[in-house]
Assembly symmetry: C3
Homo-oligomer: 663 residues x 3
């Protein structure tokens, strides 16, 4: 449970003179900023010459901020190792998949697995933790910055050696790797682990297992770096440790946050893509149980770099973002960045103050956020997000499988967000949960776009269904093994056997060629599809057009007290959206979901529970206003006026907090 709500900004005092810092702190106070994130790129300020570490400047700043009521999230500066680490040291640098060795400049240019980098990173973090770790103003740590945001899998010699070790640990003997990967397919059989290449330059595609395993290796290694850094900090500091990640980067967030304390993300979704923002809120609150998440970066107005920019948010949207994030489990809403950078690669990026100290185009929205934060804080800190009855599983490992096998430039994030949007549109309160999250308390489980389903997951979901839950698996779920190969027992392997539904064949459908009908809706079907025997299980959706016409694409089977539903194809277009929403509503009803809200699209409801019972935080996100049906009478907590059951209007970007009378 959050104790207060943070309204923060990323701040780089090391780049400015004393007078500017004073001005900054003064305006932060005026603005209501109560937390800043500092230090993330400041390695060269902290250790200008190798071995010569001095963090007094930051100690002093933290103190001054604290005196002004502003707390600090301290960052380790490892994304930008100084020139003394990289100059003339190509062996320490990141190598991309074409084999290009990075030079100094930009960020993430060093290989985070290189032992010398690790040694120096440990030393600087030790100094920071020791010197700053117990300062009263320090409320948390951020490790590094956006791991793997600019880079993917490093191909350097150090990584090659670690890769061979990782493979040895995973497979023990080279023959087990050969068997698991099916390397004999193109004479790729290895005689020793030392021979297994990194997936660098090749005339055509690399082997699926090689590409996927190299991603998983890389994801594990960056998480191991985080583990190591966190261990160091904990020796000297009790402040919780976090990292600012996203689902876009080449990391496995569930694994990454295992050894951290607070889950955080950065978001630059534009308003048109508000559902991606909500998706993150619904996902991130699950990485660390019972602990609110932080948004460590978002633009007060627009994102930009030398080579691109977004447009400013419409006035009002920032406030809607902030309120909805607090309502959906957030504790901190922080801007990137406080004062526009005067130099570098991100000089045009939106900020709270300009480089010349003026309030920017976004400033009035920042003030709106602060007003809202104050207004809703009592209601947020006295409640917690209600667990949803419907859960959708999100897997960063699935993302790796899709990167290896994108079919036709498929993007895992888009697929998943689009499925999520259907649940959102159906007005269902939902949790987006990582693969290993328990299923207790859920009634409805969606598992879309997870090519490899672990046996543990299948057992967990099967037990969930046996106990009365409805598990809807698919589309594109379960058709690959752990090693990124094809099952040889049946199309969907253990999923298929557990569901008791026979898959006849799989093939790519296309919206121009294939269509099907379910819940009275006829829609095009597309993407890689599994076709089911209409005689196994209960057919819910039948293919009406295309080579598999007459067979099933959507089938359910009773499973203990519940049900397993397989969705074999991706309904597409407007009709596809309608079909998916009908599917969701149908099973929501069948599963007896109670948290389904009659709300107009573009407005959301975040249910929270506290000692006085249920509250709804209602936010209009699309700037068009809307309405929601209150099932019971209650009280509008912001106006303290009673509200009747029935339709409630919500203005443009307006938020409301309703406490229901019946707890």
């Amino acid at each position: 449970m959050a104790k207060k709500l943070y309204h923060g900004a990323c701040y780089y005092p090391e780049l400015w003179d004393e007078e500017t810092i004073q001005q900054d702190i003064t305006i932060m106070r005026e603005t209501g900023i109560n937390v800043v994130r500092i230090g993330e790129f400041a390695w060269s300020v902290m250790e200008p010459e190798e071995g010569n570490i001095n963090v007094n400047f930051f100690k002093e700043i933290i103190g001054r901020l604290y005196e002004n009521g502003i707390e600090t999230i301290m960052c380790t500066p490892t994304p930008t190792p100084p020139i003394w680490l990289s100059h003339d040291r190509p062996e320490r640098m990141y190598v991309n998949e074409s084999g290009a060795i990075m030079g100094h400049g930009s960020r993430q240019h060093a290989c985070t697995n290189h032992p010398y980098f690790r040694k120096k990173a440990a030393l600087i973090t030790t100094s920071l933790a020791k010197e700053l770790g117990r300062l009263p103003g320090v409320i948390g740590w951020q490790l590094d910055n956006e791991f793997k945001c600019h880079v993917g899998e490093c191909m350097c010699e150090t990584c090659l050696g670690l890769w061979h070790e990782w493979l040895k640990n995973r497979y023990g003997m080279i023959d087990r790797l050969n068997e698991a990967w099916g390397t004999d397919v193109w004479s790729e059989t290895y005689q020793s682990f030392e021979q297994v290449p990194q997936p660098g330059p090749a005339p055509f595609l690399h082997h699926a297992s090689l590409r996927t395993m190299y991603q998983l290796f890389s994801m594990e290694k960056i998480a191991a770096f985080a583990d190591e850094q966190a261990r160091i900090i904990r020796i000297y500091s009790d402040a919780p440790i976090s990292h600012n990640s996203t689902v876009m980067f080449s990391v496995d967030n569930e694994r990454l946050f295992q050894s951290l304390d607070v889950a955080s993300f950065d978001t630059y979704a534009t308003q048109e893509n508000a559902s991606a923002f909500l998706f993150n809120c619904d996902l991130w609150r699950h990485f660390k149980k019972d602990r609110p998440f932080w948004i460590l970066e978002t633009s007060p107005s627009y994102a930009a770099s030398l080579e691109s920019y977004a447009l400013p948010h419409a006035d009002g949207y920032l406030k809607a973002e902030a309120v909805s994030s607090y309502a959906l489990g957030g504790e901190a809403f922080c801007y990137w960045l406080w004062r526009q950078q005067r130099s570098g690669s991100e000089i045009p990026h939106g900020s709270v103050l300009s480089a010349w100290g003026e309030k920017t185009i976004g400033y009035k929205n920042v003030l709106d956020v602060e007003r809202a934060r104050k207004e809703i804080e009592p209601f947020i800190i006295s409640t917690v997000p209600a667990q949803a009855e419907a859960a959708m599983t999100y897997s960063d490992r699935a993302k790796a499988f899709f990167r290896t096998e994108p079919h036709r430039e498929l993007n895992h994030r888009s697929l998943v967000t689009s499925f999520y949007e259907r649940i959102l549109k159906a007005g269902i309160h939902r949790d987006v949960i990582p693969e290993h999250h328990p299923l207790d308390g859920y009634k409805l489980l969606f598992t879309p776009y997870v090519p490899y389903l672990s046996s543990d997951y299948i057992k967990k979901a099967s037990a969930f269904a046996e106990a009365g839950g409805i598990w809807i698996a698919g589309p594109m779920t379960g058709g690959r093994t752990k090693e990124h190969t094809i099952h040889t027992d049946c199309a969907l392997g253990e999923l298929e056997k557990t569901a008791g539904i026979k898959t006849l064949f799989t093939f790519p459908m296309d919206e121009d060629t294939d269509s099907g009908r379910a819940f009275g809706v006829c829609a095009p079907l597309g993407l890689w599809s599994a076709v089911f025997d209409a005689n196994s299980g209960e057919t819910v959706g039948t293919i009406e057009k295309g080579p598999a016409s007459g067979k099933a694409f959507l089938t359910e089977q009773k499973h203990g007290a519940g049900k397993i539903v397989l969705l074999g194809s991706t309904p597409s277009g407007k009709d596809g959206e309608a079909m998916l929403e009908a599917l969701i509503v149908h099973y929501a009803k069948e599963a007896g979901l109670t948290f389904r809200t009659n709300v107009t699209p573009g407005t959301i409801v975040a249910p929270r529970i506290g000692d006085s019972g249920l509250i709804w935080v209602i936010v209009n996100m699309d700037g068009k206003g809307g309405s929601v049906t209150l099932p019971e009478a209650g009280t509008d907590m912001l106006s303290a006026l009673a509200v009747e059951a029935g339709s409630l209007s919500i203005g443009e970007y307006e938020y409301r907090i309703i406490q229901f009378d019946r707890p």
Copy 2:
């Protein structure tokens, strides 16, 4: 003449266990598969450690298949050299034009010119030929797989040395190269052969001669590898040797098949592109005289890899493909692949059986093919394709010239296929013949899109015209010398002199700017164009719009008993198609062609000749049905019913065989 018709599949028994192999053979029998292609990527299974070769597994498989009525095309495994050949041996690897050295993985990663590769390739092929070459089930050999499908011209050090040797052989002295190429143009004059670079990284375009000659060198070298491998096999085996090629790869097919016995191709053309499929059939039967061709790879449903897929063929199309290929000179119709691969880079590819042993979406079409094969076999093996009266020359060397000089991303294959389509649409039975193919028996010759016409070719075609034939040269034909330079005597060099038609100038036309009229059709003109003096020869097509307005783009000149026609520009758009079809019909009439059929588009007629005279195999390819006018009464050989002269309806994807009464 074919003795039987093969219905086959590519098969990788080395990837599966005994039980699966048994299942495979059983279902192959049920399905009617009578030939399989095996071994092509199995080098690491045959020689798991360097020098340790054992091919007993394949001997045993060939025997078992033979006992089950299934014959074998045995492949050499050279596209995928094992890790012991490539590991830590960058000097043996393929180097692309950016200078990137391929690592192990994927296919074709080794340089096929490297002496160590050649030595090991010779050894493995010797073992295979010796051990398997006289087994009763072995009906043929396939060398390697799709030479140069993923790679183009290798830029390694070995190739650099061979390139210098090749140039020495071609030019003798460096000054002759300098003169032939005109290297003085940008001070590129070489002092010795050792200085001539490969066309690697450069600030702007390389010299045309360098780029084209390097392609011809590379095409010669890959053919020489094939020669060498074929010589080895012939020591131990009498079975005919083939290779699975296409017109898309960086090979000169005419040269490649010189030392081989059977011409084969792979095709993954989609149904929309059926004319590309027919083009291949009409071309491939000419690479080896009087010997039917094989289709060694086609998908039973759809092609796919990790990063792309096509959609399944419509039901019925596979059968139409098979029947038309048999009718147009094919002996074998083989799928890639029998059983879906469980691992690697092509796991989603369409197959006959799935990786888990079920019949796929394409299976019913495979059964249709088998029914058709049985039904038509007696009529195909008792006849041979009738030689066409119209021939169109195809040149892979021209392809190399277009790769060097694509003007505006022109693709030789598209240009040629589009011209071919016009002949097809005109209902004219046609041969697509390689450059060196004799012209005996033809009445009409097309030579489109051959920038360099050899003197031998011009003499042959001139003699053909003198003897009464009509030779239509162009568009974009004859304007380049053997060395990929511009003629300095006249625009089209020897062609122009032979034709006796004066070219005024050449320049790029454009459909928005230029148009012309011929045969009563006015159409846009485009692409690189030659404009003729309206006073030389007989003007047939006049430019009506554009800077060359009033001059000729289509001119004919009597030549002995026949005629030479120069087509200087490419008519484009729907009107351009109409103009080209009018041109073809006009000269077909003038040349006295008899094999012109009144057939609706989308349906084809393949005339064949046997002891009982002429038969027509009629196939509907577009799934819409159609009709054809029978010039004489005859017998429908499949129903044994008489048919009248006149219009005959053909159902969707239907095929008919008509034996004419008058032989």
Copy 3:
């Protein structure tokens, strides 16, 4: 003042035999060619073996040409160093930003900063200057060819060393560089100049200052090479020295032409892009004061290479180009090229004669040019271009800033040309002047798209305004410092202070979101925008839509006897064009411009002044004809007939010369 008008062609006699050269000279005479450019790529002919230099061939050619009335612009052959310089010498070659080392072939493959290249270049140029520098036919020199047309900033080791030297000279101490660039932003602080990298491979964008300074360094270095070459030539020759440049290449033309004598450019703009051609004429006459410019390359019909082509000019356009260039300050109009190349990379390029010696599609237009040249020569050589009252500043340094910071793929040239077109369309006679050009005599000054405005420039423009001029700065002008950082005093730094107009904030506008109104026109606003406080200065344009609604995007402030106007945003679309034209006309009136012509779009008026007063050269450029209003009566000098004041019709591609009665 021009003494005669040159009608020329680029000529490569070293590529052809004696007979062809004779034919060439004969046809040149017939055609009216009176100057040729020779020698530019002929290094290997001049020095076939290293150290063995012989330029007699060129001496003899120059003599023969001169005897035939054809003068020569002699070129140094440095763009194409011979194989003996490059073979096996990777350290002498150009290295691109990916780190790829160029091989021999194409052009500009050597690093022009490598000391060995410089030594050999000095030697060959010395020989040429010594042997040919005082020949009577030699009327000028062209250094090299199109510096930096295929390459940008070289990343070789030699350049790395020079870069460090350049930085040392610029900053003195490394701390000054760190401070100026703000390197601390991503821990990029350098400890010594030797550590500063070239902007090669990096995971994300390089620092703005690094990228811009590396461009300025490279621009300086190529100019220094030109300086050095010019110094050598001047020892032996009095003929003026030029270079054929464009605004597209990575050079600073103002700096480059400083040490040269004649400003020249190449142009291949298509007819649709005629304003780019006019822009060049209006710009190039200002690089060398009181000295007419040369057009050293333009196609008589179309440009082409192996991989691309343009379409031929419409008949008549070439003549319009030639006349307008002479009228706007040109002295020479030269084709690339005389005779089509028979070999190399540009074989399809348009020419006057074909490789086989025939007149090309463009020939009749070349004859038209010659007729026009003769007709207008007396009037051109007796006058000079009238200085315009309106000037627009062009900066190649601004181009470098835009390359570093393109926002959304912005192209400096397109932005600038589009702004120029508005002035052109408004019928205003205009000068496009380099940054350091004096402002004497102007009444109206435009400074669009110059991110960094030097203090010198601001002082000069401020004085201009104080003295009564109107200075319109923007869009996107002044927001960056000399070091490519953001101002920290106010948004637009010294510009803002000088103008006395307060910028509130800057942010990216978008035509779908933002719009404004000025001069009665409402138009979308776009691109990076500065928003002004409506209470500072006089608001002329107000934002009506978007987050800055109600504030100003166009503001003026009295400044001495004149005015400074800040345009903060880029009006876009048709309405934006209308708004800009209204703005231009408004301030033109206010500034009291007299040279504004009522001329239909597509026709231009070039005013010239001679002893007998003002003449107008009127040319129709768009082939549609048009009309112009004569303010006074005068004489049509070509027909010698009197013309009345009032509307005068101009035919398609017609040109007229009007001498006004009142001088």
